[in-house]
């Protein structure tokens, strides 16, 4: 087994793989991230069986926490498999903060949190903000400290899908990308290294100031969201709310009582950015 250890925000990983290539890709893309002494989680990329290590190699995603019926991926998508394995460890094993399936960005010491279903554009929006004057905090998980309510950065590689790939490729010249992976179970995927300040400041927390529920592909509209609806949606977006028990309840009620929330419909990244800036002016 080949091994690579890294730290993303508060969490650290030991990545193990029977194949060198995906680990080398990770090493390159995560070059600026700190190493890890005693990692929080182990992720293993293993051949489905001995033959499949060489013939049509197929990688099972294993580790400390596993899904019983997770489908293996072809080894060309090994980088994606490792990222999925890391997400899975966080989703199932992390208890130090409340995990929201959300993206986040910071400005002026305050955090914007965006959550929504797959296809809502939350990942792309956080990437766009990250190259337009905001500090990117994460595109997959927003971590909320249950004691003081702070948002803790988790700036893993940004996972761009389908049209978002070309949009970002045209967006800025000095961005580093991983390999383009066509026709994965999640569509075309290409990973992007977060901006340098996002990595350098990955332990700098921020107080949540605005929660948005973006929705791509609808006429532009902004709707107030009452705390109870925000609460319900955020429990659905959280992977560990129930396990955190009373402290999860306190953290989430605190969040929805103190931070304004809006639903935001938009048709293009540009439009969304304008609306976000406007809301931020008003509310944050």
């Amino acid at each position: 087994m080949q091994e690579f250890r890294l730290t993303v925000g508060p969490a650290s990983f030991r990545l193990l793989s029977e194949w060198k290539k995906p680990l080398n890709q990770m090493r390159e893309l995560y070059a600026e991230y700190p190493a890890a002494d005693i990692p929080d989680f182990t992720v293993r990329l293993e051949a489905v069986n001995a033959l499949r290590r060489f013939i049509r190699p197929s990688a099972a995603i294993n580790g400390d926490y596993m899904l019983p019926d997770a489908a293996p991926l072809p080894i060309e998508q090994g980088l994606l498999a490792l990222e999925m394995g890391m997400n899975l460890q966080m989703a199932l094993g992390w208890r130090r903060q409340m995990i929201l399936h959300a993206s986040a960005a910071e400005r002026g010491g305050k955090a914007l949190i965006m959550t929504g279903e797959s296809g809502s554009g939350k990942s792309t929006l956080s990437a766009l903000l990250g190259i337009n004057g905001w500090r990117f905090m994460g595109d997959e998980f927003a971590l909320i400290d249950p004691v003081n309510g702070e948002a803790v950065p988790y700036p893993r590689l940004i996972s761009l899908k389908n049209e978002a790939i070309t949009a970002m490729q045209d967006g800025a010249a000095d961005i580093r990308f991983g390999p383009l992976m066509k026709a994965t179970p999640k569509g075309d995927i290409r990973h992007m290294v977060p901006p340098a300040d996002a990595i350098a400041q990955m332990s700098k927390r921020a107080n949540p100031a605005l929660i948005l529920f973006p929705r791509f592909g609808h006429d532009p509209a902004i709707r107030d969201m009452p705390p109870s609806e925000t609460f319900m949606r955020l429990t659905q977006a959280s992977t560990n709310y129930v396990a955190l028990g009373e402290q999860g309840f306190e953290a989430l009620t605190g969040l929805v009582q103190n931070v304004p929330a809006r639903a935001l419909d938009y048709r293009s990244g540009e439009e969304a950015m304008e609306l976000v800036e406007k809301l931020w002016e008003e509310l944050a």
């Binding site: 319900m232 429990t235 009373e246 309840f249 009620t253």
Partner: protein, 99 residues
């Protein structure tokens, strides 16, 4: 023989067992014993508060609630409250104690 639903007495979980947070039209209840969060509307928080530590049936509870709230037709109110109590019992927020 099963008693009529309106005659069943219930007791609410003791107040320390629940964390109650009114948000807007909805109220959140965190139930310490189960770790489950319930989202409820009126008259559920009112019912739980009115029950205090006592074992009450629907009619007794209706009387108690009518001291603070305008319940309209009292018979109707008891039937509605009996339904709510049965639902709350299913969630484990109140327990039937008839006997």
């Amino acid at each position: 023989m099963t008693a009529s639903p309106e005659k069943i007495r219930y007791r609410a979980e003791p107040s320390g067992a629940l964390l109650i947070r009114p948000l807007d039209a909805m109220t959140l209840i965190y139930h310490r014993a189960s770790g489950i969060t319930h989202m409820v509307t009126e008259p559920v928080p009112e019912i739980l508060e009115a029950m205090a530590g006592d074992a009450l049936d629907a009619a007794e509870l209706a009387t108690r609630l009518s001291e603070t709230f305008d319940l309209g037709g009292a018979d109707d109110a008891a039937a509605i409250i009996a339904d709510r109590l049965a639902e709350l019992a299913e969630l484990g927020l109140v327990s039937a104690v008839r006997g």
